[in-house]
Assembly symmetry: C2
Homo-oligomer: 654 residues x 2
């Protein structure tokens, strides 16, 4: 080992005479200073749980200031509220009124998705937005019930209790689930586990949402065709829904209902189209639902169509958010059921809200702290569960309208919730004669936007594996159930991660002409190999899950090269340079793999050389005494330096 080391040193000396600016690096890659264990541990912890460095602003501040800062951290309104002015309020007022007009009909419709009376949808658009307005850090999100969560909650709770025969138990379980959904969300935020929702990949969400949209639209056919729910399936998958629709055909669909529903659906879609074509007219689709509700209600009222079997909403309770804390199951078997359902629905609601928050934040370039968001959303749902609300979250459609209507702060949500409050108090009688068909049309026209074909196409273009996840989620939701879709999506996403860590890429490098840069010869065909040297780049951290593969793959590169050389009678390989730039970390299994690699190479008298190990890798290599094994002077800053030293003859023509 030693004498070999010396002989290398000579080579280096020779090398230096040609390019003396090499000296700095060769000793630069020396034994690193012992890493401070505690510090290292702290950084890892920090980066894992506090990547956004939330306490940065607290640094060296007086105590009083710190208190204010922490209050502001919990209630951002204290921060932005101080710079609030009448100009901002104008924006918020208009936006608030617009989303209110959109949310009222949607709320009534969505609550039917959750098998709840209309008022609960309205309740959920009153309390939660208020709570969020004080705690949330997003400026554009519009809070309230949303289609997907309503559907999910409805189907899950329906399995436990029948909303028609056991309305009270059903309602209690809804509140229980809402409570635990809030607890789950807040806990994730407090424990800084926000990153967990990142495991639901964008692709999966796209597929999931499209699937859910179709499922919801199918559910609406019930109200749309005027089928009484006792003839309608409890399943949500396309096949059973279609079956029960055709089975119910001979019970007779209600033609009046269909006419009303269809005509207004057309109206809504036209309005949507106008809004899309001309962004200035965004308010057309925004108020269209309310208009169609008013018109259709008036129509039914004068024609008494409800006597001809046109189902109507009926009387709505005028009370404002009655307390429901006593209704929550805090004991017994139902507690567990509510807990399970709450976690599931809560996670979905979270994903949707955070996705919206991030989107608009990046459009206006402000930061939303994911974990803080979760605390806000969680608190609002906990409070909601005690005031007769079911799970609320950020709504895609309303947030977009809110943004386009020029909202400035969460005040637009406060405006909205006030309008909802007044509606519950004074305007509910107006909705008595509103035909359910209208609500179905409104829901259908709303969820259609969730079917994002362009996104799916883009995903296909960019990443086939993501596309599989996307389609998997979609088919799962449409043909089995919302849960199945989720499960498929998550499973595929994890499979992808495992594949990544089990089979990392490796590449053969060559020298790009007229430079000292070495790159993948497949990517840069003009790159030329160096005779007598094989340069391999490893494209991932070397961990137990891939160390053996990497070792064997590198050996295969070598033997393949050897065969080529034999075929063309060229000098045999003397050096194997492993480019470690992409290797961000290594573990004991990785070190062992490299030791085995070194031994195998020794047998074939090929020398192992390492290029550009990063700090962490270098530390661990030294901790394991690997450099003494292969010789310290076998580790270089760049491949170019390694080549300089390995094949001195090369130096002339550089």
């Amino acid at each position: 080992m030693a004498d070999q080391g010396d002989e290398d040193l000579d080579i280096i000396q020779k090398g230096l005479t040609f390019s003396d600016n090499q000296t700095p690096y060769i000793h630069k890659i020396g034994a690193p200073p012992k890493p401070d264990l505690l510090k290292e541990f702290k950084t890892t912890l920090k980066e894992t749980f506090f990547p956004d460095d939330p306490l940065r602003s607290f640094k060296d501040q007086p105590k009083s200031r710190k208190i204010i800062l922490s209050l502001q951290a919990i209630f951002p309104i204290l921060e932005w509220g101080r710079s609030y002015n009448i100009k901002k309020f104008r924006g918020d007022l208009i936006a608030g009124l617009t989303i209110a007009s959109l949310c009222i009909p949607q709320d009534i419709g969505y609550s039917s998705l959750a098998h709840l009376k209309p008022q609960y949808g309205l309740y959920s658009s009153f309390v939660p937005p208020l709570v969020y307005a004080f705690m949330g850090s997003s400026r554009d999100i519009a809070i309230g019930p949303v289609a997907v969560v309503s559907l999910l909650l409805g189907t899950l709770v329906e399995r436990e209790f029948d909303p028609n025969t056991q309305p009270d138990e059903y309602l209690r379980l809804i509140f229980t689930a809402t409570f635990f959904a809030g607890i789950t969300q807040a806990t994730l935020g407090v424990l800084r586990l926000g990153f967990l929702i990142d495991f639901l990949s964008h692709a999966a969400v796209v597929g999931f949402m499209s699937g859910a949209a179709i499922t919801i639209a199918l559910q609406q056919l019930k109200g749309f065709l005027g089928i009484s729910s006792k003839h309608f399936t409890k399943e949500t998958d396309v096949i059973s829904v279609m079956k029960s629709i055709f089975k119910s055909a001979h019970h007779g669909w209600n033609w009046q209902t269909i006419v009303i529903g269809a005509s207004f659906l057309v109206f809504l879609l036209v309005a949507k189209y106008i809004g899309k074509k001309n962004k200035k007219l965004f308010w057309v689709p925004a108020i269209a639902p309310l208009i169609s509700v008013i018109l259709s209600t008036f129509f039914v009222y004068i024609t008494h169509a409800n006597n001809d079997g046109v189902a109507i909403v009926g009387k709505i309770d005028k009370r404002i958010n009655p307390p429901s804390l006593n209704k929550i199951y805090f004991s017994g078997e139902h507690l567990l059921k509510g807990f399970r359902i709450g976690i599931e629905a809560g996670m979905i609601a979270l994903t949707e809200a955070v996705a919206i928050g991030r989107t608009f934040a990046s459009m206006k370039d402000y930061q939303v702290d994911g974990n803080k968001e979760m605390v806000a959303l969680g608190t609002m749902n906990v409070v909601g569960s005690m005031t007769s609300c079911y799970i609320a979250t950020g709504s895609f459609s309303r947030s977009a309208v809110n943004y386009m209507a020029g909202c400035q702060t969460m005040v637009s949500n406060i405006v909205m919730s006030m309008v909802v409050l007044l509606t519950v108090k004074f305007l509910t009688p107006l909705f008595e004669y509103t035909p359910n068909a209208i609500l179905s049309s409104i829901i259908i026209s709303a969820v259609i936007a969730l079917i994002d074909i362009d996104a799916a196409i883009l995903i296909w273009k960019i990443d086939k594996f993501d596309f599989i996840a996307c389609i998997g989620a979609f088919l799962g939701v449409v043909f089995k159930s919302v849960e199945a879709g989720l499960l498929v999506a998550v499973a595929i996403s994890f499979a992808k991660i495992l594949l990544q860590v089990t089979r990392p890429r490796t590449a053969l490098l060559g020298k790009i002409p007229m430079t000292s840069v070495y790159r993948n010869i497949e990517q840069y065909p003009e790159a030329s190999k160096i005779s007598g040297v094989v340069i391999v780049r490893v494209d991932s951290a070397v961990y137990f899950s891939n160390s053996n593969y990497i070792k064997e793959r590198i050996l295969r590169w070598l033997s393949e090269e050897d065969e080529n050389l034999k075929a063309t009678y060229q000098p045999k390989i003397q050096f194997l340079i492993v480019e470690l730039s992409p290797v961000s970390d290594i573990d004991t299994s990785g070190i062992h793999a490299f030791e085995e690699l070194y031994r195998s190479l020794k047998k074939r008298d090929v020398q192992l050389v390492l290029a550009n190990p990063c700090q962490q890798v270098l530390d661990k290599l030294y901790a394991s005494g690997f450099p003494d094994l292969i010789g310290e002077n076998k580790i270089f800053l760049t491949v170019a330096d390694a080549i300089h030293t390995c094949s001195p003859k090369l130096n002339n023509n550089v």
Copy 2:
């Protein structure tokens, strides 16, 4: 966008006047050719399931040759057998005899670990090694029953049936488990899922083995102190074992047993020590067990110590491997139990065998095909389960002896199994008076070698996280059960993988003096930042699991730098260069993150520049139209090129 692009082009032109050898790369990073989807898919599939390219030798061979090759692939003996000669046989004969002398006493002892009669241990050293000899690709591994698997199998099956009261059912379940262990192993191999066992990291195995060794040693105290098994606990954790040992104290330990056991244990340990000190005397510890068996048996025989309560092995069935196919449960609930136990024990057996195979293969530098190995091991256990054998695998201790005794091929295993055959046929009467205490001493002295403290220390030195996995597995085995230990180990290993993919490292780069190389300024303090530019390196593939973190982390680097500059009244940042060398892949979520990053930067009028994206990343960037967004001329081969173009004033002093 467009005009901005042009303005950049001018900058590039200016850049070029200074260093005209830049031209090649700037157009080199152009739109890549459309990737061939099918080809890509095929490569991924190949690298995942056929990383060792097993069919390479089959390429363009005549049909007849292909048949021979495939036969040789299944039965490697056909390949090495042809070059077999008398010289090799001498080595194999000596090695075979040595491991035989070691395995016979071990087999008898290990079968007691599995609560089986002695002959089953011997059976398992006869058939499986023969089968493996024809199919296995390792040359040094010694096949037979091993301590850990015997213990695991014993404890698992004991939970279903009591070996004393229900011996037949117990035996049948053992064979069933063995059968399904074999099926599992073979299936993994055939489906090319060998990489799955890599998920049990080296660190975890070290901890697991040490823990198992201690558990086994504790179990031996029963035989060692002469405690009758009805007073002994069925649990394997240290606490319950210690309890029942002290509880049994007043039932009286058998002093004769203790004396015999202790004295021979000392003898065995001394022999071990000699063997360790002087490698030439490796045969001393190898034959010591047999000698102590003979001596102690003779001693008991003449002193009739068995009448004074010294437990002895007793009569051993002379029949050779009676068929047991009819004993396997192919139906009923026991089928499932056997299946579950088989999978568990089979995986452990596999891990041990493959680890041994790899170790010796890398010492003699020959390839063992992991998947082929599994097929061989699986077949041998399936055949074994039909010939009254229980799970056999590669033994650490015997393989080491085999290697040191100079074995050449698997013939040494054939020799061993022949010796075992003769033993069963003619010598079993000799073992009638062998005291169990000796077997306990032999097992203790054998498993002590599995406690690898040096390895644990090394793991601690190299990687703290691995150490946690190691200790976790160890404590799990010692204080709960073998399964618990496994579970802990695997769980921690997965947590590590998830951490890696959720929180990748990022680093701020600086220019190393007198070079055009840019490196982490934390690792190379002498590296200098470039004014007006921030260079960030991302150290992992950008996936949905980390895309948001990476985006926000990069923005944080930027704002931190901005603050520093403001503090020192330096020009503000105009360019953010993201070094993508370590980014081996990106998915749709990653692309979205970069788009959001670009938008945020635009708001702060900082220009986004990318350096050295690899083929896969470049393809996906172009597929998503990202280059058009930031401008194609914003993607460079190296950071140096990017700097050349971004800050022309820099070119003068390069």
